[in-house]
């Protein structure tokens, strides 16, 4: 063990207690009425979050309150493992229980697309946009997470999904952005505030659902339904996002946290 590792963590622990490093919750509450992705009704559907009381200090259990909950692996703020998509189905260690845990704690870059998403609900994040972002904030470091901030999490439930008769309308990345992040920056994952990592109309892009198809095909991860990205600096924060260890899990609801140095936000 070298000297650095024995000083970094005690210093971090001290900074956390002193409030010099803040912990930000990037998670929506698991709520039965939180939107989930809607697929054509012929396909299997994503289960909503549901709770059933087992007992509440009553005849079913006099001193304790507990509940059964049910949901999909992709309900609420959740993690997508490579095995989630057909392009990642044959990769090794691609389910939530077998992914190396290192990727769950990484630096995070936050790309501000708020203005663009407000102007165009179908806004697509491109390679050029990322290159321009780097010109301002520096090169995206290898092995980090990249989150697309749109303030979509602040929308009302109906406007969040923004479903119309031609499908959902919400921003997301195009293939050039994802290819750039994987091949040229080697990120560990990509996350959004919307219900999926792909744009609402992402099924009409090439390839369809480029974030899902390309990220997972390359063994990278996804995060979606994130909140509070407005509290993160463009660079310098640390993301903590370990999914539940579900056997052969394609993903999982999870608590996503970020550590932010007080003067950096």
């Amino acid at each position: 063990m070298n000297a650095d590792t024995t000083t970094v963590l005690p210093a971090l622990a001290e900074a956390l207690v002193a409030g010099k490093v803040r912990t930000i919750d990037l998670t929506h509450t698991l709520d039965p009425d939180f939107p989930v992705i809607i697929l054509p009704p012929e396909f299997g559907q994503c289960a909503r979050f549901r709770v059933e009381e087992v007992s509440r200090y009553d005849e079913r259990g006099p001193a304790w309150y507990w509940r059964n909950f049910t949901c999909n692996e992709h309900t609420g703020t959740h993690f997508d493992a490579p095995i989630h998509w057909v392009s990642g189905k044959d990769l090794p260690n691609a389910s939530v229980d077998s992914i190396p845990v290192e990727g769950f704690v990484r630096a995070v870059c936050v790309v501000d697309c708020v203005k663009e998403a407000a102007a165009d609900e179908d806004f697509l994040l491109t390679r050029d946009f990322l290159v321009a972002w780097e010109a301002e904030h520096g090169k995206i470091p290898e092995g980090c997470w990249v989150l697309m901030r749109t303030d979509w999490s602040k929308r009302s439930a109906a406007d969040y999904l923004n479903l119309r008769d031609d499908g959902a309308h919400s921003p997301g990345p195009d293939a050039s952005a994802i290819t750039f992040l994987i091949e040229e920056r080697n990120v560990v994952g990509f996350g959004t505030e919307c219900v999926g990592t792909d744009a609402g109309q992402g099924g009409h892009l090439s390839p369809p659902y480029p974030a899902h198809f390309l990220l997972h095909g390359a063994g990278r991860y996804g995060l979606q339904c994130l909140a509070n990205l407005d509290q993160l600096p463009p660079t310098g924060a640390l993301l903590i996002c370990p999914p539940l260890k579900i056997k052969n899990g394609s993903g999982s609801p999870l608590r996503v946290l970020a550590l932010v140095e007080e003067n950096s936000a």
Partner: protein
């Protein structure tokens, strides 16, 4: 002439709610044949298959020839009121609370006299039309109505004890996202409902007809998802004390049986809506309705289950959905038992294939949403507990009554339907 019923003033919060009491409940097993027919709105009497004598009240053997071959047969409804009296008091608590009460003797056109409740507009010596209905104790009784329609006829105090008229009542329709839910809201509103609460699940998903639904008079759109216990309980906390009629329009229908389905996710969705949905509604709204079964002219009075007729016998083409509807049907029987003594009726409306997306490929004749809604409102106005809607369902029910085992064999043939 009957005085038109008016919406009552707001309740005095210091006054105790009147608890349900019951007219006489006991019937012999034989006599339940009359009750079962009355629940369908049919007027039947026992007829001897040997000597053709018609008899009343129910008996074990023919009083004329002592044959045991007495069977319930549909009877002509006509008759004449030959004697009447108005009861001023009674030792039975139910009637004691409701006097004065008219009863009389009717000479039926079929040739025998019967004792019956008498509508206020029937005059002595006048012609009458007999109806058989279940009363607050769930037992079949006879009532004589004027032969011709009179003004405000359905508002008669004694008749309204037998019916579940939506007029001035507050109705909960559990799912307004569908054409069926919207047609039902329109139908009860047109029938004079004071308030039509309409449940909408997942307001974050747009649905067709949202604007026209909100524009229906007396409609109040409420958040309700029958698959979510929390949501059901929250709505019951809010309006559970003022739901007089609950109409469960939520359904989840998918084609396919058991073996040709991959996994149980769809079946679970079917059970969540079709079985656990009503179960949640019963637990949340049932106790309040049971308590309010005698709460004045707008008492709680009816629980309406809309069930595919394949609840009675499985149709493998929709085998998994049929199974969930069979569960719902069985639950409705439990509910009927649990509502007994409350005066709240359970109306089961069995319908044939509905004109909607998930049954789009089925051939006509189909039941329209409007047709089903209209039939349900009419059944409530008549106080029925059993309703069959559509040619397919009527034919199905006839075959089911004849021999459920034969029907099962028909349905499970390759061409069964």
């Amino acid at each position: 002439m009957t005085e038109a019923i008016k919406r009552p003033r707001r309740k005095d919060p210091q006054k105790r709610t009147v608890l349900p009491t019951l007219p006489p409940t006991s019937r012999s097993r034989r006599a339940l044949g009359f009750t079962a027919a009355a629940a369908e709105g049919r007027f039947v009497l026992q007829k001897c298959d040997d000597c053709e004598a018609v008899t009343y009240p129910p008996r074990e053997a023919c009083p004329k020839c002592l044959s045991m071959n007495l069977n319930w047969r549909d009877m002509p409804e006509g008759g004449q009121l030959i004697a009447e009296t108005t009861i001023q008091t009674s030792t039975n608590v139910y009637f004691r609370e409701r006097t004065p009460w008219r009863v009389g003797t009717i000479a039926l056109d079929v040739g025998i006299p019967v004792l019956a409740h008498i509508h206020g507009d029937v005059v002595e010596g006048g012609r009458v039309r007999m109806i058989a209905r279940t009363d607050k104790s769930g037992q079949g009784v006879l009532m004589a109505l004027p032969e011709q329609e009179t003004a405000n006829m359905t508002d008669d105090k004694q008749l309204r004890e037998l019916t579940c008229d939506p007029k001035i009542r507050r109705i909960l329709i559990t799912d307004g996202r569908t054409q069926l839910g919207q047609a039902m809201a329109q139908a009860v509103s047109s029938a004079g409902a004071a308030t039509v609460f309409v449940g909408i699940a997942e307001t974050w998903r747009p649905f067709k007809g949202a604007d026209s639904l909100a524009a229906i008079p007396n409609v109040e759109v409420m958040a309700l998802d029958v698959t979510d216990t929390v949501s059901v309980n929250e709505l019951a906390s809010e309006i559970g004390g003022k739901v007089d009629i609950l109409i469960n329009t939520a359904e989840h229908v998918r084609a396919g049986g058991a073996m040709d389905r991959d996994g149980i996710v769809t079946a679970r969705d079917e059970m969540e809506v079709n079985y656990f949905g009503p179960l949640r509604l019963i637990q949340a709204f049932g106790p309040g309705m049971r308590f309010r079964g005698a709460d004045g002219v707008n008492s709680a009075c009816a629980w309406v289950n809309l069930l595919s007729v394949y609840a009675l016998s499985n149709w493998p083409a929709y085998g998994s959905t049929s199974a969930s509807q069979a569960a719902a049907y069985s639950l409705s029987q439990c509910l009927r038992g649990e509502f007994h003594g409350s005066g709240v009726k359970v109306l089961n409306a069995l319908f044939g294939p509905l004109e909607e997306d998930w049954r789009q490929h089925l051939p006509p004749p189909k039941v329209t949403s409007e047709g089903l809604a209209k039939a349900v409102v009419a059944a409530l106005q008549q106080g029925l507990e059993e309703l069959t809607v559509g040619a397919v369902a009527e034919d199905f029910l006839t075959r089911w009554k004849q021999d459920p085992r034969v029907l099962e064999r028909e349905l499970t043939q390759p061409e069964g339907a």
